[in-house]
């Protein structure tokens, strides 16, 4: 089940430094929303607010609302363990668990939540690896360490790992930043398939990538959301001059 993610007046601080200023954005279900902007503009921070990964660090504070469906996940009473099961995340650098095999990497979330055992576990792992377009490449190496795969394979392994626990929202933090063009193409195709079923929010430095895969694009600058709109429109007629400048390479 996919749900809309609605961000309302979100502000975020690390200590005294304000990283996000009053950001509002709606990421619709079964769509890819791309966040673009220069380095350090706060787009990754925005992404990490949605699964509350920032809660792990001292000095992070937040104001505003993030709704997944109807539920404000920034409420003090939100169960973060449960939230993170519902919101999958793909990191900038592939981070398969180096001590686990390919199979156990995909199974890690299922085991964590006790979602599947024995045969059904094996079936879910296979299904997720197939969905991540990795099965054919790794089916004979399921008990090899996941860290031995190539960079692109590792990233697809991480996607399979996130898929396994059936999240509602997918967060991707520059998933192709450390990959070669061919692997990037693989991942992009995968993202297009993911949007059939999930809400996908992706941070990217690569404007062509945003144009290729996203329905909606949001431009973030210095912690502010400058503008957001359908990708096709934004890239052709940016309403804000700063967006225009960024898209044409006159900034950042």
């Amino acid at each position: 089940m996919a749900l809309d993610v609605t961000i309302e007046n979100l502000s975020f601080w690390f200590g005294r430094q304000q990283v996000l200023k009053n950001v509002s954005l709606r990421a619709c279900q079964k769509e890819v929303t791309a966040l673009i902007g220069p380095s350090g503009c706060g787009k990754t921070t925005l992404l990490r607010c949605i699964n509350r990964l920032h809660d792990l660090y001292a000095g992070a504070s937040v104001a505003g609302k993030i709704l997944i469906g109807e539920e404000n996940i920034l409420d003090a009473g939100t169960n973060r363990v449960e939230l993170r099961r519902r919101v999958g995340m793909i990191f900038q650098k592939p981070n398969p668990f180096p001590h686990l095999s390919v199979f156990e990497n995909v199974a890690s979330g299922l085991r964590l939540h006790g979602l599947a055992y024995g045969r059904s576990l094996r079936e879910r792992v296979e299904a997720c690896l197939r969905k991540a377009a990795l099965w054919d490449e790794v089916k004979d190496f399921l008990d090899r360490p996941g860290a031995l795969l190539s960079g692109g394979q590792q990233q697809r392994l991480c996607i399979a790992r996130a898929l396994a626990i059936e999240p509602e929202v997918f967060l991707m933090d520059e998933p192709c930043a450390s990959l070669d063009p061919v692997s990037t193409m693989h991942i992009e195709e995968l993202i297009k398939e993911l949007q059939e079923e999930y809400t996908v929010i992706i941070v990217t430095h690569n404007m062509q990538q945003a144009a290729r895969i996203s329905r909606q694009t949001a431009f973030v600058l210095h912690g502010e959301l400058v503008e957001a709109g359908p990708t096709a429109e934004l890239f052709v007629h940016a309403r804000d001059s700063r967006t225009e400048a960024y898209l044409t390479g006159k900034m950042g």
Partner: protein, 280 residues
């Protein structure tokens, strides 16, 4: 859906156990330091630090000769270990990937784990047994064996921090490798190497077994390097196992002196590193 609340509770218990373990460990260790300070502080006076030991029951005994003896042997050890250890580090830095370097690094790491008693036995058999003479020289050699691997490992680390571009610039200007090492790399890493030497000195100053087996002890001032020589750790040991209350009292005082010396060296070394890191 499995109950995540239950998982959070289950998570809390072992975390609390770890917190308690940390609390226990840290408080026990501090309790020991507290005892040393509390029982030792009353004993220490200028006279205690400078006087010779006195026989049981005679007041006014001090640790002057033991302090001097320790100083002499540690200095001797450093004198032997620093050139050799730094030279080995230079080799490791110049030939980081050679087989000899790997073996030398491995041997150094293993040597730091060899019990100090064994080092004592080694020098005892090699020198004391042959010459029939316990001596400060033998003690210094034993301490040098303890210090050398520590110095080599830390010095190599410090040499590695000197940027390669500097060395290349020097070589490009026509300097030989030797000139580059002696005039550029070693001076640039000198402060870091000094920190390693300080840590090695702190380690050596606290060693009991190697000194006991090689220099034994003495109740006189050290006069030359070929005589049995008193040292602070050995004095602490012999006083502590003695049945006499006044000696036991002095053991606490001497232990406090030793702890303060060793901790000061360590703290100074760490501060040195911290200041250096801050400067970049």
């Amino acid at each position: 859906m499995p109950d995540t609340k239950w998982r959070l509770v289950k998570s809390f218990v072992p975390e609390a156990v770890c917190r308690l373990a940390a609390l226990l460990v840290i408080s026990v260790l501090f309790l020991i330091l507290y005892y040393i300070f509390q029982r030792g502080a009353g004993v220490i006076s200028p006279a205690f630090l400078t006087a010779l030991p006195t026989p049981v029951g005679v007041p006014g005994g001090g640790i002057g000769n033991a302090l001097l003896g320790s100083l002499v042997m540690v200095a001797l050890g450093a004198l032997l270990a620093v050139p050799c250890g730094v030279a080995a580090a230079v080799y490791l830095d110049q030939n980081p990937k050679s087989r000899l370097a790997a073996a030398c690094r491995f041997a150094s790491r293993v040597l730091t784990g060899v019990p100090s008693l064994i080092v004592g036995l080694f020098v005892f058999t090699l020198l004391v047994l042959r010459t029939g003479q316990y001596s400060a020289l033998a003690g210094g050699i034993a301490l040098a064996v303890m210090m050398m691997p520590v110095i080599t490992l830390s010095a190599e680390e410090m040499l590695r921090l000197v940027p390669n571009s500097w060395r290349e610039a020097s070589l490009a200007l026509g300097a030989s490798k030797k000139q580059t090492v002696l005039r550029l790399v070693l001076p640039a890493a000198a402060a870091g190497i000094a920190v390693g030497v300080m840590l090695a000195v702190a380690l050596a100053a606290g060693q009991t077994a190697p000194v006991l087996l090689t220099a034994l002890t003495s109740i006189f001032w050290p006069e030359n390097l070929l005589q049995p020589t008193a040292s602070l750790p050995v004095l602490i040991y012999t006083y502590a196992i003695s049945p006499f209350a006044d000696w036991q009292q002095q053991a606490w005082g001497a232990a406090l002196v030793l702890v303060v010396m060793v901790l000061m060296l360590n703290i100074a070394a760490q501060l040195f590193i911290a200041v250096k890191n801050r400067r970049g």
